[in-house]
Symmetry: C2
Subunit: 455 residues, 2 copies
């Protein structure tokens, strides 16, 4: 019998229908929702109608004229594109047991939205419209700059052409655009975001899934900021190969703690030495000791504590393999789902980290000092790492990771403190019996292997 | 160093200024917010201006004429009342370190709201207006019925007078009422609920606390429903006096499981035998075994697992007292905050139960089978039990508790299965050494002592 997280109570499928003029952040919001829900194991997918349009119209859609509402050929292509996207989405709901599909398009007119509504209802999908409405010139300009440098429509075009053409395209959409309206659309389930989230109108939000999506979107901001992640310094338990516990730092761990303030300043760069940031740690000694030389505000979170190994707390992998050989194998087979006897699984950590993610979305510069499994889950959220891979990522000790969220991606950089530490990485399918318990081993992992800076 | 739950990140004080005509559910919403935040250890208090008005105006406010906007004497009293309420609230923020104060009044005009706004800003309090706007005749009538039977203004008056007079009072307010408006009030932080929550307008919701309050209010509904709570049947560990673990039910525990379907039907009453309900259990065997004969849909929640006793898991209280005498005493001194070595405190449980409470607010009929400490925390939420008392409540085995949320209170009834069980209750300040570990003892607890049906 499966264990339910808060997200599985209802048997509901939702189609989030984006609404908004070009350069209103629709794709950004769509992609963030998909990333968030996927991280929570809610099967989600974004269907970008622009991609379908490029596929069907090919060379016909070279400039803004294509989007003139009087251009019959353009209209036909655009209708074909949205029909294909909806068809694929409906297939995905059925064949892949999709839960939340996002239709990323302008969906500017009531006529278009009514068509989608009808299709959803025929297929027993709950439609939720999500409009991003914006009249803040500065915000729009910033979005246009993002789009014209990243959109497949413009990457090969000269910068000046892109700007003029894109503005003309927006004008074409504006000429027919019908915003969502609490009076006219009072029967629909919709969210209207006005200038990011300075005002939000919610209409008939009824299911839990809808309310989760709304709450997430409510908490997003677009101010530039960075998030730093670090494991605690090497601990006494790391030296003996024991897992769990509440050990103190080793001598080398203390060295890392002392070096950390310098690493943070280096990572901030010369112009940002006085940037304000907040340090979050777990409630365990090794993270607090690691934070102890940092001259910033600090908060402790129980939710950042390491994965609870239950009956195996304090044991080495070797002892676990000897004492519970079947568990050892079961964990290797499905590390994400495996729950230690009386302890936790990676899935359990993700559930308790959800409020942390929500708070991280709200905050600006945060440095998190936590533990291997927790850090893997946080990293998986920001970098969209699939569940089956995230528990196997190698996150070395004595390394500061910096994440910089951008419009359509997150930049990662790593600063390695030149302080040796044991490796706590256990490769999938390996046995600890007959091998050295501690000491440097070669990492093999999806993530950090290619970065060239692993210990 | 204190451990932070999600709610303590900001150093913000909020005044929730209710706005709405009489009989729009303002007091109900205010009281629920206070109960929810208090349960999360966020210091909150409701200041009901009606109470101040009754205090200052005494016999002058006998009927609707008092509320006529042309009645100068009435106006003076009413202004005096709100001034007193605000003064008390500001004192409370300073002297009692209040975090969320709620000003429960109609606050019908912009002039009145501007005054409050000014006072808040002068005192560095964030004002958040929360309007309940309603034009659904049926909803209003239902609220009027609630108010006229519970309001101190009418309890001693004949029913018919109350109805006519109250309607007249509402008319007086309506003649000057100014609703919150996204255009006119665009600079304010406000939430406008239209017909409960069929439409919600959010304007400039910026702090985390505000967003939590909004999300909670968004999830409230007013459909009648019941919530049932039960501990698992007596377990093998209960017999030996051990805590934690994942033991099977004892023979008597199985008897309770078999009897439970009958108890539920009895509790539903004759007319509601076919009421649909859902059973929530923890992931531990003893709750699932207890649920096994119930013919309803079942869900397992990790968040409903028993308090993690860490290193003390599987020990008896006697063993804990012998092994960790200082911990045993520390737990007795502050049971809410005491965290078992490597385990949890009551505070930790409340944090992990928060999403469960949110989901419970959304759902209708739910039967929860869980564990002593978790049940205490759930019960404390619904019954507003103070933190220092909740860990000491006696919740006997083999007893089904039914909660029926009403407008201003929650009805509780208890059905005791006639199946003996050990008591697992340990009274504050008692030692287990030299006493029998198991067997019936006399309960002394705030809550169930007075109910007359304890085992």
């Amino acid at each position: 019998m499966p264990v339910y997280s808060i997200s599985h109570v209802e048997n509901v499928r939702v189609c989030v229908v984006m609404v908004g003029l070009p350069a209103r952040g629709k794709s950004l919001i769509s992609q963030k929702i998909v990333r968030y829900l996927s991280w929570l194991s809610i099967k989600s997918k974004c269907f970008n109608v622009g991609n379908y349009r490029r596929e069907v119209a090919k060379e016909a859609a070279v400039d803004a004229n294509f989007f003139d509402p009087k251009n019959e050929e353009g209209l036909a292509y655009r209708r074909q594109a949205i029909d294909l996207a909806i068809k694929d989405m409906m297939n995905w709901f059925v064949e892949d047991n999709g839960v939340v599909g996002i239709l990323d398009a302008t969906n500017s007119t009531r006529e278009r939205r009514d068509r989608i509504l009808k299709l959803c209802r025929e297929n027993y999908i709950e439609p939720m419209f999500l409009e991003s409405w914006c009249d803040d010139k500065e915000l729009i300009l910033q979005n246009i700059t993002d789009v014209k440098t990243t959109s497949p429509d413009y990457v090969t075009k000269p910068n000046e052409f892109a700007m003029t053409d894109f503005l003309k395209r927006i004008e074409h959409y504006e000429s027919v655009y019908e915003t969502m309206d609490a009076a006219t659309d009072s029967d629909l389930t919709f969210v209207k975001l006005v200038n990011v989230n300075s005002q939000i109108i919610l209409n008939r939000i009824e299911t839990y899934l809808e309310s989760r999506i709304v709450y997430y979107v409510m908490n997003l901001h677009i101010k530039p900021r960075s998030i730093w992640l670090s494991r605690h310094g090497e601990s006494e338990f790391n030296l003996t190969g024991q897992i769990g516990g509440d050990a103190d730092l080793s001598e080398r761990g203390w060295k890392y703690a002392k070096k950390l303030p310098e690493l943070v300043l280096k990572s901030l760069g010369e112009e940002h030495q006085h940037t304000n940031l907040t340090v979050w740690t777990s409630t365990l000694k090794r993270t607090q000791q690691t934070a102890s030389f940092l001259p910033y505000k600090k908060l402790q979170w129980k939710a950042l504590d390491e994965l609870d190994a239950g009956e195996c707390d304090g044991m080495t992998y070797e002892e676990i393999e000897k004492t519970f050989p079947e568990d050892f194998k079961a964990r290797d087979d499905n590390k994400y789902e495996y729950r230690y006897r009386g302890g936790e699984s990676y899935r359990d950590i993700v559930i308790r980290l959800e409020p942390i993610i929500m708070e991280l979305e709200r905050q600006e510069n945060i440095l998190i000092i936590t533990h291997q499994a927790v850090l893997r889950c946080l990293y998986a959220y920001f970098m969209n790492v699939p569940q089956e891979e995230s528990p196997w990522m190698s996150i070395p000790l004595h390394t500061l990771i910096k994440l910089e969220p951008r419009a359509y991606s997150t930049l990662v950089s790593r600063l390695k403190a030149d302080i040796p530490a044991v490796s706590t990485y256990k490769e999938k399918g390996t046995s600890q019996l007959g091998e050295a318990k501690t000491g440097e081993t070669i990492f093999k992992s999806r993530d950090l292997l290619n970065s060239g800076d692993v210990v």
